[in-house]
Symmetry: C2
């Protein structure tokens, strides 16, 4: 038959098409798609129809179809990879320019932008869902669901803590061995305290290089080749996820494994990073995994927690997991919960806070027990974790110090803003000039080598010897010093960054030379800036705190040098304030950071005041220049994250000006063939369902619902047609759709319709019958508020007669 | 003319009508209205029309009108005080039953329920608003608005702190004088340490009574006669306000004045209450006042901050004010902010947290400076406020104590739940049997006398003498004790409750007898229960903490008595845990309470863990029985507060089942006369604007917007008619409407239309053109989510053709 052949031809033609579940793709592939698109345009003459709002379409294919079939590809258009966009013409122009094209929704145009999709935070209340709800409306069921939810949160706390412990202990053990080995090597090779000749340092230097390169190369290779999403701290990704952006593979078990190994190797390798960010990500993965009661990776369904299998429920668990992760990373339960609220959460409610807090508490408690047992503490006294070291003498301050704290805050804000800007530039450079995978691994190794080399140079050239006895370092290296002295420069470098923060907070006054600390600050500032953005799993918290602690201490030393009578200049106190200020300048958080710093150092609650003064000043100053590092990363990666307020340039617009049209619609009863073809050809994820359609002018119908791509695919896969209703109706429920969550099959997995080409789909029981609708003249701030508050994925713009005028998605608020 | 006379008759008939700005009314008035309604029903035959969905109406009046006028009161109905309700028949039945009728929206039926209205948290984006927005879209304007917002928040912090200081200092001074006087009186009248005869105590007792009765009577009278809304702690009211319920007179300056005096008199009078709750209310009033830049009470408009004059902006300031209030009350900035978030806020966003925190910090800082200056501290060392006294030795705990803390938590949960339930019963009793104002004052006096008498009896009958020297009380009364001893019972009673909490936390072990503390616990438990709900301004925090501290310390003493080798039983520590547990049991908060307790006692951050264990256990146990005291109060007062989740009994329903219909609609161009009449006769606050109306069948029109009662009244007041458009159009802007905010005039202030009876109103530029609309088959959980997340006041239910099916307001989610 003619149309069969044509269909095959059409399919071949579209075979360049990829899996419609969109993943970030390489630039090369995308530009091929752009070329395809161009070719397509020239081959198929586009005709304009229906009030001139329809994009180029393939109505020329009409003759492929039987006469008794309604014209499949009529005016209502199946734009072949055409952006749903009011200005298809102008987008055509853009495609050939070298500028990144952000305002196009279709992946064909996404030359440099990975095409992130939204999560379905909106619950689709179709007939099937309501049927289930009615069945489960008993008191008992909802109580059971509540109890299970609590159990899951408790499990999240425990398992996150166990993972955190494991990472902690492995890092500690390996670092200990590495630095002990280096210490011994130095001892053996630099025997004389007055050896002015540096050649003896060569062997330890080479060992040091080796112990840095090996783990870093291994970690970077794992991240690059196995799971690139694990690069960085993971906080921006978790934040985007909680905002409703689908970050592919973000919450998989494989991701967790790579992240854990990646963070161990990088910290042991001596890169300027911490384990805190990755812990949050780990907590999020644990939460997403446990709450679903199944693992898609291991193809194992435990048949539990089925009621929690949707994006909405999962989101809340992931928030709890993130909080448990921070809590475990810092040993700070309130801090962890506040961190989740302040930085990560986009949606919030009282019960959620409450559950999140419990998960955090459980997490810290578990961590404390395990670590206590590991360190062999026999008395069961809870000491808190204080992983930045406890200040034993209470920190006091005077009123006249407040302006100083404020000045430190301003300094932190300036340095932080500069760091963010520099880091962004480095990462842009990196993205442009190091596209190859092996290059990314080599780059990480080079940065690691640079760190070791700079450290060695500092140790070699600076003569900073201190008497042994009151330095808390484990391996006081004698290196070029007299007997009974140790090298204070080496002490800074011969340990993990976290341990160095501890040293700067707690070392007694006079432990370092001013020159040492000044050089250390500069070197570490640059190093940390070069490190964040490498393809390794590392957080930014510890290096930022370290830089801050270094310059905080340095400033106190300088001032004390100038005014030796200033008794209040406790260097540890100023190191703490400096750390807070620098953190505030880079991360732009306030409450959670101050609470975390308080909880991890055990300072008195009254010291909250100086901390927050420094943080607030830093945030204010920093915000004047740019955004926090996490938000910057999100922007640089073109993640369509919805901020709390609409972007300023959108404030004067109306829905009409940002909507995308024409919209591909489906009739309430439509042919399976049309749906199949449409899904093959356009990659949108939501289709308005219309009624009251004259002929095939679907886009002029009256809106009666919306249906998701994933639902349509399930309908086709399971052959839920009107004609064979008697077979599937009794056993079809919302569970049929939930079973394929979260990895929906692609349209390619639907075999050709062959014998079902004339079948009909009745969407009335599958569609979401009550999508949120707005008017074209509604202002963007208003629809933004609706979109964000309800966590929508698609917002329909309708005219007064309830006919579709356009559709608005997340991207339209950002890239238009 | 005929219709003129009829109109007058009609007006007379409706003259029983009250100010449509609804205030809580006395039961008597309301039942009169119910009778009126009943009379009306019998006089006017009701006919059913338009698909049987129209309530009884007064179509019988049709003949009053001219022929050339469209039938004013046609099928579209002007229900005269008729509830907008689908089941008018059934409501008729209810009216004569003695049950309180919660499911009726109209005030006529509100026999015992004050008819709370909603606030307009939704911004009405009409043409005027958009015009203004366009003008003000400059970068400069929005920066300026941001800066002004910050200035307001800082001012809120400062002024709230100053008020808090004033209250603090006055209470302290007066209490000091009162108790010193009593102390001297005791000293004079009970000269012998072994005076077994109690007659000598009579004079101090009478003095004590006098010093209790006078202030309490004064305070209660002020609250009762001047501003009844100031009774209680104010937290439930502020919480309701932030949820979107209009609590009349809640944020007025008069309220603040009465509240301040009320709380001073009650605390000085010795009632079992604290000043903390009222401080939150005070902060809220300050915030609302400052942010508006005008005082309606003093008829003074400063012509500043005009851009913040709407419910939405005001809400955010009030949240900041509440936080500043808590912070000032406890000297706990993080605690204050968390309290606002956990207990008060219904809406939340990141920027808001950030501003709220700054307000809290500023508030604590101001308070600290002023109080330091007042107490004459010369060294400018910031010490924190610690108004529950600083624990000087760090509190430690062992793992095996955790189950004990948990048990204390469970005890707190049980006692708290019992307290809540008892208090609710007492208040119900009170409401029923003490309706008269003078009765309320007398009741407060009686409770005050009861407190003094019980205290005296305890002092008289219990012989608990302790050696002088290590008790921190100011006035150690010798009373029946040997020389060099003081009476430990008197020490508990001869100070403000706050000071007693301090004593229980910090008194050295062995300061009290077991019997003393046991009796004190019981007496104070009952007293505080009887006090909360009196017509006085008092918070519940301090008495609750006091009861908890008492039984916590008591339990530690009992256990120590049983196992004298248990060294860990530091009574102060257990008093603190007991206070936390009892607070958790009564208030059901966790995070903020633990942080507040930490901040006010200066314990180490590691002690957060036991606190939160106790609080969580208490909350879990308590939640099994009933709700927290604030939520209970809100429920008892029938405040239509929207919880975080829909009520369980609503979960299976759809919009159709809870909507109110028929709905009184207005045509896009409607006659001034119709609008005037309608406003006179029905007291709804929002009216759908319809289009495409055939004749007068308004309720069958197509929805094109919604307009508020207040807007319509302004239109009528300012004569914004189509016919005289050329006069008002140039000078009418959104400011015209904003000028009358927040006390909108009533329809009575519009003089009769007389010569403008034929004029027309065109609503297109005034109405909100994009109300949120849902379908009748949408589930209640879904529409609840929309309603709550967007802070709506009216939600229109439309059918597929965009014609009105009903309207849903706050009340429909609670009382239906």
């Amino acid at each position: 038959m003619d149309d069969r052949k044509a269909l095959i031809a059409l399919n071949d033609e579209l075979s360049a098409d990829e899996d419609p579940i969109l993943l970030p793709r390489e630039a090369g592939q995308a530009s091929k798609a752009v070329q395809d698109f161009g070719r397509y345009q020239s081959e198929e003459p586009s005709t304009s129809a229906a009030a001139g709002r329809v994009a180029p379409h393939i109505s020329g294919n009409n003759h492929f179809l039987d006469d008794d079939q309604p014209p499949l590809l009529g005016d209502n258009s199946l734009p072949p990879n055409v952006p749903i966009n009011g200005s298809a013409g102008s987008s055509n122009r853009n495609i050939n320019s070298s500028e990144p094209i952000f305002h196009l929704r279709s992946r064909t145009a996404a030359a440099s932008t990975p095409n992130y999709e939204s999560l379905d935070y909106e619950v689709c209340e179709n007939t099937l869902f309501q049927d289930e709800q009615r069945k489960r409306l008993t008191e008992r069921f909802s109580l059971r669901k509540d109890i299970i939810r609590w159990i899951i949160f408790i499990q999240i706390g425990i398992i996150t803590a166990l993972i955190a412990c494991t990472i902690d202990i492995i890092i500690e053990e390996l670092s200990e061995r590495k630095y002990t080995f280096l210490y011994n090597s130095v001892k053996k090779n630099v025997p004389l305290s007055d050896a002015a000749d540096g050649s003896d340092l060569l062997i330890p230097y080479l060992y040091w290089l080796l112990f840095s390169i090996l783990p870093v190369a291994f970690g970077a290779a794992m991240v690059t080749y196995i799971e690139p999403i694990t690069a960085g701290s993971g906080i921006p990704q978790v934040k985007s996820y909680l905002n409703g952006v689908k970050i592919p593979r973000i919450v998989r078990i494989k991701t967790l494994a790579v992240k854990a190994i990646g963070v161990i190797t990088s910290v042991v390798g001596g890169l300027a990073g911490g384990k805190e960010g990755p812990m949050i990500h780990a907590g999020a993965v644990v939460a997403a995994g446990i709450s679903q009661g199944k693992s898609t990776t291991f193809v194992k369904d435990f048949r539990i927690f089925k009621a929690f299998r949707d994006d909405h429920e999962k989101r809340d668990f992931v928030l709890g997991g993130g909080a448990a992760g921070v809590s475990a990373a810092f040993g700070a339960p309130i801090g962890g919960m506040l961190f989740s609220l302040e930085e990560a959460a986009s949606f919030w409610n009282q019960n959620l806070i409450w559950r999140t807090l419990v998960a955090s508490i459980i997490s810290v408690f578990t961590l404390n027990i395990v670590l206590s047992a590991y360190h062999g503490l026999n008395d069961f006294t809870f000491t808190g974790l204080f992983n930045l070291g406890k200040f034993d003498t209470p920190l006091k301050f005077d009123y006249f110090e407040l302006p100083i704290f404020m000045l430190l805050g301003v300094t932190g804000g300036l340095l932080g803003a500069a760091w963010n800007s520099l880091n962004t530039k480095i990462n842009k450079f990196r993205k442009r000039f190091i596209p190859w995978k092996i290059g990314k691994v080599i780059e990480a190794v080079v940065v690691a080598m640079m760190g070791v080399t700079l450290a060695c140079l500092m140790i070699y050239f600076i003569n900073d010897c201190r008497p042994l006895g009151n330095d808390p370092t484990n391996n006081p290296v004698q290196l070029f010093c007299e007997d009974n002295e140790y090298n204070a420069v080496a002490a800074l470098w011969f340990q993990t960054p976290e341990a160095t923060v501890r040293s700067l907070f707690h070392d007694p006054p006079g432990s370092h030379k001013i020159l040492t600390l000044a050089l250390f600050t500069v070197v570490y500032y640059v190093l940390s800036c070069a490190t964040f953005g490498l393809n390794v799993s590392l957080g930014v918290f510890i290096p930022t705190a370290l830089v801050g602690a270094a310059w905080g201490r340095l400033l106190a030393m300088l001032t004390y040098y100038a005014f030796p009578q200033a008794e209040f200049l406790h260097p540890g106190k100023y190191a703490l304030i400096g750390a807070a200020a620098n953190l505030g300048g880079v991360l732009r958080m306030t409450i959670s950071l101050s609470v975390i710093l308080m909880e991890t150092t055990g300072v008195e609650t009254s010291f909250f005041f100086p901390l927050i003064i420094a943080l607030i000043s830093a945030k204010w100053v920093g915000d004047y220049f740019n955004e926090g590092i996490y938000d910057t990363q999100i922007q640089v990666n073109h993640v369509p994250m919805l901020t709390w307020e609409p972007l300023p340039q959108y404030k004067g617009l109306t829905a009409r000006e940002i909507l995308s049209s024409p919209v591909v619609c489906i009739k309430l009863r439509d042919s399976a063939h049309y749906i199949y073809q449409m899904l093959k050809k356009c990659d949108h994820n939501g289709f308005p369902v219309v009624d009251d359609v004259s002929g095939d002018r679907r886009s002029e119908g009256r809106v009666c619902g919306i249906i998701l791509r994933s639902q349509l695919i399930v309908i086709l896969l399971k052959s839920l047609y009107v004609e064979n209703k008697r077979f599937w109706l009794p056993e079809t429920s919302i569970q049929t759709f939930r079973d394929v969550y979260p990895r929906y099959p692609s349209i390619k997995s639907v075999r050709k319709l062959d014998n079902k080409i004339n079948y009909t789909v009745d969407l009335s029981m599958f569609m979401n019958p009550s999508p949120i609708r707005v008017n074209p003249h509604d202002s963007v701030p208003r629809i933004f508020q609706i979109f964000r508050a309800l966590g929508l994925r698609h917002l329909l713009v309708i005219n007064n007669e309830n006919r579709i005028a356009g559709i608005i998605t997340r991207r339209d608020f950002i890239y238009k």
